[in-house]
Amino acid sequence: MAPDQAFPLLTALVFLPALGGLVVAIVGQRSDVLVPWLAALFAGMTLVLAVWVLGETGGGGLSELRAWVPAMGVSFILKSDGLSSVLVVWVALSTLLTLIATLPGLRTAVAMLFLETAANGIFFAQDVFLVFAFLGGVVVAVAWLSSVPRNVLVFATAGLTVLFGWFVRFYQMAYAQTGFASTELARWRSLVLYPDEERSLFLLGACGIVLLVPAFVIAVDNAPRAHRLVLFATIGVIGSYLVLRLLVPLCPRGAEASSSWVLAFAALVMASAGLARGFTLMAVGYHGLVLFGLFTFQESVVVGAELMMIAVAIGFFGLVLTTSRGLVWYFVLFLIGLPIVSVLVPVWEGHPLWAMLGTLTFVMMAYRFVTLAKASLVNNVDNFANGSRRRLLSASPVILWSVSMIIGWSVWTAQVKPSAIDFINSSSVRRSRPARDARP
């Protein structure tokens, strides 16, 4: 791991958008015209910092550590790696493009910037309290962007309460096993759990995350069209990231023991997407595919699933942003072809039965996806950005990014492979540590 930096680059990257949000909120009281451009300026600066951090990940990444609430064992720990750096760059880029493409009003611009801060914080945080703090920020920003914040918050608070219980249980165990309070992720990963308790905790955490999904669906379906872009770009990625970096590494045996159920659930989600009426549920279905890939615990498939996390965000973002027929079909093909190559084909090597189920449900989903795309082209729904030149300008980086994923597949694979190996090794490390005996 790289030594702590003299200049808190990660902290600056995380909080720069929020600072921009405050500035925009103050300036926006006097002038509406400046709002989107000032917000875009801060988003642009964040993008520059994000690319800089991405460049620094080669040496093992950056890290920052500060005490926050020592009495409660809470620390402010940020760390970057291959996957998190890429995700931060994506969020920064998508926020900037959304601001340029839609020129939003004050409330939307501020909410987008705060959402960006919360998302970046989740990707870099290495303290579970910090993850939860930023997750709360995501919930607030999403509710704020939605036109029905009460409905969003009802589901979101339910999910957060369940996750709160999960968090408290781990906090209790950390204190019981180490003798002092701590919320550091690394310390929690070293805890030894009873097998049945680990499985219960995994299912509890999974329920909490699943309860957050309706909040996302309600938020996106009821959001003004300009907001749906940024929500598509960030929310699904955050959900998958929580499973990848928090839930499974803390409950690896529970995850493995429940993998059949999760795979079945993921297949069900994909099958449900086969009946979707809009792109929102389709995006949920695609994240079901990501879940499917992760829970095979097969290295090549997990790498593919991690790349799918990014590809889904890119694909749906581009789909909602663009208006040209050609580009719509490009993104549809991108979202159909990439999962086949990255997830479904490798699954056949290790899990043929599950691969059969996954392929079948994916075919249903893909068929429905094509139907929806045709309907959107006919009805011109889900395409909203004003000004064809601005739309094309905004879509260009997304198109380039997606092309780079196709052409430079090996480079992208190398970028996320360390985190995939870490994900798989978390279960093998826990397996090598003797489990607590079954309860008497």
């Binding site: 409660m72 709360g136 009460r150 918050l153 608070t157 957060l160 369940v162 219980g165 408290v168």
Partner: protein
Amino acid sequence: MHGPSMDGVSLFVGSLIAVVVILDAITDSRNERDPRRSLVTFLGLFLAASTRDLLWIYVGFEAFSLAAIIRYAKLRGAPLRARAMVGSGASLLGVLLVAVSSRATDLAELESTTAVNLGVLLFAVGLIIKWLQSQAAPFLFLGASVALVAVFVRVEAWAPGIADELETVSWLVAAAAIVAGGVGSALATSTRSLGVWLTIFTVGLAVIALSGGAPALPYLLMHLAASSVVIALVLTGTKPAGTWLAMLSLASVPPFPGFVTKLVLLAGLQPNTLTVALVGLLFAGIGCAREVERPKLFSLRDDDASTRERSWVTLAVLAVVLVFGLFPEALIGVATHAASGLF
């Protein structure tokens, strides 16, 4: 008889009661404002929260109850007075039973016998009845809640044997308060009723957390402070931004104060108790979510046609959220200092 003492807990709790009483006076319309009644309310609750003597606690709650009856007798009339009399009667009976059986009313001097336990139980029931009858006035109800929790803290600190004997009863009552408060919050149709139900939930959670003993006390005080101050500010009237912040805090959304102050509190609970607390928290969170951007059709007072949104209250909510949520170390230090020496 042991009189009131100015220890850390009484000062901490007294500050909260003072905040609530002041905000109540501010929201009173001019022709209803009565500084003497507010002073009596404060002194009564402060007295009840500052002493370990059952008789002084009784006197304190009686003073508060009389002030509440005077304030709301016009609106609620006979039922309010009747409930207050029942509560007073039960408390007085309990005090008498304790005094006759042990010739003392100081908690530190009481031994756990059947008669004393029954007396303390009757006394607590009477206090709870008086507490509940004040819910017609949300601010007074909130102040009484803070004082009631302080009474329970002193029973736990100074009469642990009695507290152990009554643990099952207190657990059941607290659990009922948590669940009722949560469900009531979820079904609340106005800011005032939401404030009342959240107060019940807060008290239930505080009392059930007492099972954690001395280590839980600082966090219990933090939870009491964060919840009561935010509820009081919401009842005073905030702008929409302040309502957002307050409701997110009361729903225990991270990293708002409600989440931070409840974390260690919940971590000290046994699994079954934790489950009950989380069920209540779930419903309370739903209630808080429903309050966000709820059309303000209801006023806080039956005889007031308008609901004011005060800018300074919004700023106060922001200050509470920032201080308690993002920088809780200071509050932890104050609460720990207040709690030290009590157990």
